[in-house]
């Protein structure tokens, strides 16, 4: 397939999935819809995360900071502003924070970058907690004006579609190529003319904008928010886990993994809550060890490869147990000795 055919295929798949998701509230139970909402939230968060952090390999743990900033913007602005403007405002505030944060940390790489983004997230969370306690004199905020459930669902769906569509489109642009170059070898990309600082800041801000918008839309679901719910670092970790398990370098990986996760989360958490975190950890270990490309890299060949590996392993064990390995080694030794006679 040519690049254009890939683009058309990806957009068609996205269009199909969107149609299915729009129709969902019409026939599914309330439980299924609320599950789908969580799922869409993580699709938006991890797709946008993978778009920047996956391609450039700048592992950011700041998603929960942007999410929380969006949620707070929404909590403050919802009484005076219409819904759409609140969402856009959440995105803009988060992006602005990302630009400032980026200026401070984007020259660092690897572990230092990850740890610093996490540190800044905690800093923001505690700063807002402190501000709430000492200045406003409250712990959290109650959201009085809350839009319809339907509106929330459609907004988050729209954000998820935007996140995936951006991932589809950006990887075909000059900007996307620059991100790829930064991921492959940042210094080489610079010597080939990429202004990496601007590209990185823009990519980071874009990711943050989507996380902020999602936070703004999701905050109303709780009706009462405080820094510890919306700046919950678990949101950031889960976003990263989903992207890694799905395949951070792939387009559909985060989406596939987000679906798998939400189903796991909702079914396991209700029946055996302890098993949920355990299976999450297990899934991450397995995917890092056996599927470094993520769930999206699964092909029939992968299964065939596993089957062959297991078969080979099983034959070895059988040979060992039946003494066949020993006999084979003796035969080889004898053959070598015969050759040395001459």
């Amino acid at each position: 397939m040519t690049s254009r055919q890939f683009l058309i295929r990806d957009l068609l798949v996205l269009f199909g999935l969107t149609g299915w998701a729009v129709a969902l509230p019409g026939f599914a139970s309330e439980f299924a819809v609320s599950m789908a909402l969580t799922c869409l939230m993580y699709i938006a968060l991890s797709s946008s995360w993978a778009m920047f952090c996956g391609t450039t390999r700048y592992l950011s743990l700041a998603t929960s900071a942007f999410f929380g900033i969006g949620a707070y913007t929404s909590a403050i602005g919802l009484e005076s502003l219409p819904w759409e403007q609140v969402i856009v405002l959440g995105a803009l505030v988060a992006a602005a924070v990302a630009v400032v944060m980026g200026a401070a940390v984007l020259h660092l790489r690897g572990t230092y970058f990850a740890v610093l983004t996490f540190g800044m997230t905690e800093l923001i969370r505690h700063a807002i907690s402190y501000f709430e306690k000492s200045v406003t004199g409250t712990v959290g905020r109650v959201l009085m004006v809350v839009p319809e459930r339907e509106t929330i669902y459609l907004t988050v769906l729209l954000l998820a579609v935007i996140a995936v569509a951006l991932s589809i489109v950006i990887r075909r642009t000059r900007f996307g190529l620059a991100l790829q170059g930064i991921g492959a070898d940042e210094q080489r990309a610079q010597t080939l003319g990429v202004n990496t600082r601007i590209v990185k800041t823009a990519g980071f801000a874009l990711t943050a904008a989507i996380a902020g918008a999602v936070g703004a839309a999701m905050s109303v679901r709780w009706t009462y928010i405080d820094p510890h719910t919306v700046f919950n670092p678990f949101i950031g970790f889960q976003t990263v886990l989903i992207a890694l398990i799905g395949g951070a370098m792939t387009l559909w990986g985060p989406l596939i993994a987000a679906i798998v996760f939400s189903v796991l989360a909702e079914t396991l958490r209700l029946q055996v809550p302890q098993l949920y975190m355990m299976s999450l950890g297990l899934l991450l270990i397995l995917s890092v060890l056996y599927l470094p490309g993520g769930l999206a890299s699964l092909r029939t060949d992968t299964f065939k490869g596993w089957k062959n590996d297991i078969q080979a392993w099983w034959t070895d064990i059988k040979d060992d147990l039946s003494g066949e390995t020993k006999r084979r080694k003796e035969r080889e030794k004898k053959r070598r000795e015969q050759r040395h006679v001459y």
Binding site: L177, Q180, G181, Q190, T191, L192
Partner: protein
């Protein structure tokens, strides 16, 4: 190129690079004129690569001035150097392994292309040699057309070196900085590489600065050579003169007197 022949392409003045207490490059000044083919030699640890990193913007010099066609670039990011027509290769090839060979070339075309602004204004890339206009013609120039669709990680090390040069060419440079492009190649491959470099200089009107550890090869092909020793410039001139320079002989004798250097001196002075 229509640039003023008197204006140097790159004027490095008193460039110093310090790593903590170590002075890797000590107040080196050098001027590079359009169309020159200059070699840089020096014993191990002489500061060749560090000087290279400084004049391509990869390492910020501690002090000194770097004037590229009248513009002051010292302390600016490497992309500014690339956009002003300075392209470089790396000692160990740093190609984008996951991308195809063609995409590796296309990368430079997309970003540096010094005629970008003109391209937008006039609708055509005026002044860019036709051979540098598309990835495929660059591949033809460096002789990698057959490997165009292979991932860059899959080609041989000597092809990787050619690809490095191709990636640098894709930025439509005025000046090509080559860091040990002939290291680890067979004798035939080295000759071919040298021919390619001369051809690039002649046909594309490039200034070429070429670092090589193997002195013999280099002295045979360049017109001017700069000798670095312990971070300082100790000689600058035509190869014939430089190899007779007592200070240069001293530097190489004091460091390591191997057959290769001996041979090269005999050959060039003969």
């Amino acid at each position: 190129m229509s640039t003023d022949a008197k204006q140097p392409l790159l004027d490095a003045q008193e460039v110093t690079v310090r790593f903590g207490g170590l002075v890797a490059v000590d107040a080196v000044s050098a001027t590079f004129m359009p169309g020159e083919l200059v070699g840089i030699i020096g014993p191990n640890g002489a500061g060749k690569t560090t000087f290279f990193n400084a004049i391509s913007g990869v390492t910020k010099p501690t002090s000194g001035r770097l004037t590229v066609r009248g513009q002051q670039l010292a302390g600016k990011g490497p992309h500014r150097f690339a956009r002003n027509g300075l392209a470089r290769t790396f000692q160990t090839p740093r190609t984008f392994g996951d991308m195809t060979v063609r995409d590796n070339i296309a990368f430079g075309l997309k970003f540096a292309g010094r005629r970008r602004r003109k391209y937008i204004l006039w609708g055509e890339e005026s002044g860019v040699p036709w051979v540098l206009r598309t990835a495929d013609s660059i591949l033809g120039l460096i002789g990698l057309s057959a490997q165009a669709d292979l991932p860059a990680a899959a080609i041989t090390p000597s092809q990787q070196r050619l690809l490095e040069i191709g990636m640098a060419l894709a930025t439509r440079p005025r000046m090509l900085l080559l860091d040990e492009v002939a290291a680890g190649l067979t004798e035939n491959e080295v000759e071919e590489m040298a021919r390619l470099i001369r051809r690039l200089r002649d046909e594309l009107d490039l200034t070429v600065v070429w670092i090589e550890h193997a002195v013999t090869t280099l002295l045979r092909h360049v017109e001017r050579v700069i000798v670095l020793h312990q971070g300082k410039k100790i000689a600058d001139g035509p190869p014939r003169e430089v190899v007779r320079n007592p200070e240069v002989i001293e530097a190489y004798l004091g460091d390591e007197m191997n057959d290769e250097n001996d041979e090269s001196r005999a050959e060039v002075t003969a």
